[in-house]
């Protein structure tokens, strides 16, 4: 049993991160698309489409961080110091964009400032998350169970590319969300935007898929050795299929399918990264077993998690259902 606990916890944290990326992804995407809106009125509409959800969405990031601390304290204590500056900048960016949901309504004269804060904060947070992801894939320098590298080890071309890729990816989630949740001009213009973003995102996914096996032998061995390739070939195939479905859905005027297909695209890309790096939680030094917390800690937290996660899923779905359907004209909370 004890050797399975880290696997279970890796799966739980993996789910939390996936939930975060998808849910906060679309509301960060709204911020990233802010500069392309035609008026403040359109931006009001965009912001209102995510306003009831953003608090809950961002909580998945708290669960990701806290879950890592609970289940893999050693990994938490290595990864966060290693990405000290990107993590801190991301948090500060999230402060600005979070309060912008309230402060943007303060007055006409200050509104453009908070529009800027919302857009810049969303972009910066997304970019930093991509930097961290890229830096993590590239590996962290570890000695005696602690981070032993420099303050700027994460600043590499690969990490910067991952940062830009994630900004484009969140923008795609945001654009397809607008197709689903809004009507009129915003939804119409979101379609060509989503198409362009889809091309960009696929290009980034292709580059990462080529770059990582070429640069890291362990990733090449994972995908291209026998018999692995026999079990894994469907991942890129499914990705191509989903990309095609997303493209067709955007073109053919479907409402919800573009968003759902984009989610599937994200999940497949995420699955690919997990396959590339499992069982490392701090590549290439620590596996999930080496970084795991005490079994007593895993069990104590698992009991609560098995009770709470279904409840959380339940009321989250309930709230999305209450606010389902298109955004309509009417008075807002402000």
């Amino acid at each position: 049993m004890e050797s399975y606990l880290p696997v279970i916890w890796a799966a739980i944290i993996g789910c939390a991160v996936a939930m975060y990326v998808i849910l906060d992804g679309f509301d960060l995407g709204i911020g990233i698309l802010f500069p392309f809106a035609e008026s403040e009125h359109e931006r009001d509409q965009m912001m209102n489409s995510v306003a009831p959800f953003w608090d809950g969405n961002e909580t998945w990031l708290v669960l990701g961080g806290a879950g890592l601390m609970v289940a893999f304290p050693l990994a938490y204590s290595i990864i966060l110091p290693a990405f000290y500056l990107p993590v801190m900048i991301m948090l500060l960016a999230l402060v600005f964009r979070g309060v912008a949901f309230e402060f943007r309504w303060l007055g006409v004269s200050s509104k453009p400032h908070w529009t800027f804060a919302f857009a810049a904060g969303s972009m910066l947070a997304a970019f930093c998350q991509g930097l961290i992801l890229g830096g993590l894939i590239e590996g962290i320098k570890v000695q005696n169970g602690a981070f032993a590298g420099g303050a700027f080890d994460w600043a590499t071309p690969f990490a910067v590319m991952c940062g830009l890729g994630l900004v484009a990816g969140y923008a795609l989630l945001g654009a397809t969300w607008l197709i689903m949740k809004t009507e009129g001009k915003i939804a119409e213009r979101a379609r060509p935007t989503a198409k362009a973003l889809l091309v960009v995102v696929l290009a980034f996914m292709a580059i990462v898929s080529l770059w990582t096996p070429l640069a890291f032998d362990r990733i090449a061995a994972r995908w291209f050795s026998l018999p692995n390739i026999l079990f894994l070939w469907w991942v890129p195939a499914a990705t191509a299929l989903v990309a095609f479905v997303a493209w067709r859905a955007i073109e053919s005027g479907r409402e919800a399918l573009p968003f759902l297909a984009t989610i599937a695209l994200f999940l497949l890309g995420y699955l690919g990264l997990l396959i590339s790096n499992f069982p490392y939680i701090v590549p290439p030094s620590l596996t999930i077993w080496q970084a795991a917390a005490a079994p007593a800690t895993h069990v104590f937290m698992l009991i609560g998690t098995l009770v709470m996660l279904p409840i959380i899923f339940g009321y989250t779905i309930f709230v999305y259902w209450i606010f389902s359907g298109k955004l309509r004209e009417g008075e807002g909370h402000h």
């Binding site: 009831p52 609970v70 000290y84 500060l92 979070g98 917390a293 609560g304 309509r328 807002g332």
Partner: protein, 468 residues
Amino acid sequence: MELDPVLIARLQFAFTIIWHIIFPAFTIGLSAYVATLCVMWMRTGKGHYRELARFWTKIFAAAFAMGVVSGLVLTYQFGTNWSRFSAVLGNVVGPMIGYEVEVAFFLEATFLGVLLFGWDRMPPWLHTLSAVAVAVGTLMSAFWILSANSWMQTPVGFEMRDGVAYPLDWLDIVFNPSFPYRLAHMVTAAYLTTSFVVLAVGARYILAGKHLEHGHTMVRMAVAFAAVAAPLQLFIGDQHGLNTLKHQPTKIAAIEAHWDGSSPGELVLFAWPDESAETNRFAVTIPHGASLLLTHSWDGLFPGLKNFAPNDRPPVLPPFFAFRAMVGIGLLMIVAGLTGAWLWWRGRLFSARWYLWPAQHAWWIGFVAVICGWIVTETGRQPWVAYGVFRTADAVSPVAAGSMMTTLVLFVLVYGVVGSIGLYYINRLIAHGPRGPVIEPAITGAPTLAPQAGALAGIKPSSTPMSE
């Protein structure tokens, strides 16, 4: 100058957590107040309860947003700045924070959306239930984070193996010796803090001669609460202090500036404690006073700072002065609560300008008391991060001091901007009043989310007990 990473990390944590605690102290109390108003609205059908609930929900949303984003920062600081803390104590402290997220954060954050955007769109009972869910969420959050903090103050139920803490008994860990006292003290403090904000806003409306019905309700509710809870808080605080003496004698010695454990403790009303000379300067004291309070006997002895090696002592000035400020405000709250109750009994509560005018300006006193209380308990725990087990100096991350200094400066700038605008924003909301226009008329008619047609079984706003 060589920067000391431990000092910078401590300064940064002190700054970010002091800034953060303002918002939970307010939102714990305010969510309970909004839920109470919703229940009153349902029971009486009086419209002004609904208007008040809606009014305070807007203020709650602004405070909650600032609390969420600054709390997120703290969750990550355990790793960025205090990675050794996480590696050594994560097995024990981690799950308490994990439970806080799973039991509380999701509940609060998700139902706040319903609370804010669900007015007129849901049956009143469902709206009230959402308000209760948010209030319960804030309480659960307080439960788990105070359990974690209390374990760091009074660690039990674990063992150290190879320099890492391993849990032995979770019940002992969660319900550690100082936890019940700290929980009662902090939750009462949060409610009291909020009641003084509500009192101030009510007094402001009465003095300005507007929103009188709302103002009367707020002042009555706040006075009734403070008259009961402020004296109760004195009792809880006293019990908390006795518990601290039992488990953290160095903290009590620093609070009392008590140097010599072989003689009875004086109650030091004022002094300038001199740590290098190990004595108090300019002291004004009541002989035997501290012994009476802490041991309930004239000649009772309790440990003094000299009983401990200098490197095991906390700094004396912060707990000493912060404690006196906290107790002073606590006593002031008792006076304010009882005076208000007496005026109410005499039927003069809404005409006594000499009472309402200071009340209008005293909205901030609870926040200062809460911050001072945390300064007492956190600096009083030093030099330990887990009392007697693990030192703060060993808990810091292997991160360049320059990185920490840079982010400290950024936090001061960002929080300074966000905090002052937040204060301005909340003040604007209050100035507009519970019946005032929406904050920016230009955006009425802006689109918002409507619930799915028929999602709530065709319940229309007109079926609310009191539609405007």
